[in-house]
């Protein structure tokens, strides 16, 4: 026990956040939120949990990483990253010149907002009355984490990765999204160096809304393209 270098379980603040339930007032969106509600760990630790901790401790002892660095990364993934994409796209909705810059060079537009994407390239794809975009990573789980946080469970799931590329309409329907037949659905397959983000269409009835109000409507699922922003969901 003497070489107990770190104990994130003892970090009460972090632990509380792990188990928090998301308070968004009276409106109800159980799976389409900016940040997920985490599940508690039950039962004894698995071999993988022990392995993961063991690797961290060894690397700390060797001076390759510090516990503080890992803790900080856990924090930004939960507290900063999930809220950046909605701010970015809200700005694209209200500032046409910025929207164009985002479409031209996503990484540079993010840098303007002080966002380090930590990947080589970001491609923003815009929904129009004729085209709807959806993103996936068929090979693993490449995702614009620096904009949306960790990918939701379904994004990493075999079923989503397998099917969305050949029957996107059927998959979208499972998310409650039904598009007119006249709309072309484009599916974008991400990779380790190149990520996508969807710029949804701004709904009618949001004229004069502040960037904050608009950002609240731009949930994670709308920026992946499995749902579309709705006025009543953010009111």
């Amino acid at each position: 026990m003497s070489e107990y270098k770190y104990d994130y379980y003892a970090d009460k603040k972090l632990k509380e956040r792990a188990g928090r339930t998301h308070d968004h007032g009276d409106h109800d969106h159980d799976h389409d939120d900016h940040a997920p509600i985490n599940e508690h760990d039950d039962g004894p630790p698995s071999e993988f949990e022990i392995m993961s901790r063991a690797m961290q401790e060894l690397l700390e002892e060797k001076g390759v990483i510090t516990a503080e660095q890992v803790r900080r990364r856990m924090e930004v993934f939960e507290e900063d990253f999930p809220y950046r994409g909605s701010k970015l796209v809200a700005r694209a909705w209200t500032d046409p010149a910025f929207r164009q810059r985002l479409l031209d060079d996503g990484k540079a537009a993010c840098a303007e907002m002080g966002i380090d994407l930590e990947v080589d390239r970001l491609i923003a794809v815009e929904n129009t009355p004729d085209v709807h975009n959806v993103i996936v990573c068929t090979l693993c789980s490449c995702y614009p984490r620096a904009l949306l946080g960790m990918p939701p469970t379904w994004y990493k799931s075999r079923n989503y990765r397998s099917r969305v590329v050949f029957e996107p309409r059927a998959v979208l329907k499972e998310f409650g999204t039904v598009l007119p037949e006249s709309v072309t659905v484009r599916v974008h397959d991400s990779n380790a160096d190149m990520r996508y983000v969807v710029i949804p269409m701004r709904p009618e009835g949001t004229e004069g809304w502040s960037d904050e109000q608009l950002a609240d409507m731009l949930t994670r699922d709308t920026l992946v393209g499995v749902t579309i922003p709705r006025v009543n969901a953010a009111s």
Partner: protein, 119 residues
């Protein structure tokens, strides 16, 4: 739709038939968040690249489809760290023993003092 190309890795599932999507986000367990924080720190410290981790994951072969997402990434990280000589198998085994022992603490509710107090 599913292909059976001889060079197709276990990760290459785009286009395969599969069941309905569970559209609920189950979030992450605490250890999964730690595993993600560790991976992210190693990439940020330029110890490892995403592609290296992916290659190690894809080398899992038939185990790939049996493991959950963070079990895959944790297995892959182990491979990469050992390959890079940052840790040895022996060190990892010993450290895992230590941690296993650390978890094996008596439950405080089983303490004779507590039992006495609740009577």
């Amino acid at each position: 739709m599913s292909g059976t190309h001889p060079n197709q890795g276990p990760q290459d599932i785009g286009g395969a038939e599969a069941g309905p999507v569970d559209t609920l986000d189950h979030g992450m367990k605490f250890w999964e968040r730690q595993a993600n924080g560790l991976r992210s720190t190693l990439q940020r410290n330029k110890i490892m690249r995403t592609d290296e981790l992916r290659r190690a994951a894809e080398d899992l072969g038939s185990r790939y489809s049996e493991l959950a997402y963070f079990e895959i990434t944790t297995s892959a990280l182990r491979t990469v760290l050992i390959e890079k000589g940052l840790i040895t198998e022996h060190e990892l085994k010993a450290k895992m023993e230590q941690i296993r022992a650390r978890f094996n603490v008596p439950d405080e509710m089983e303490s004779p003092l507590k039992k006495g107090a609740s009577r």
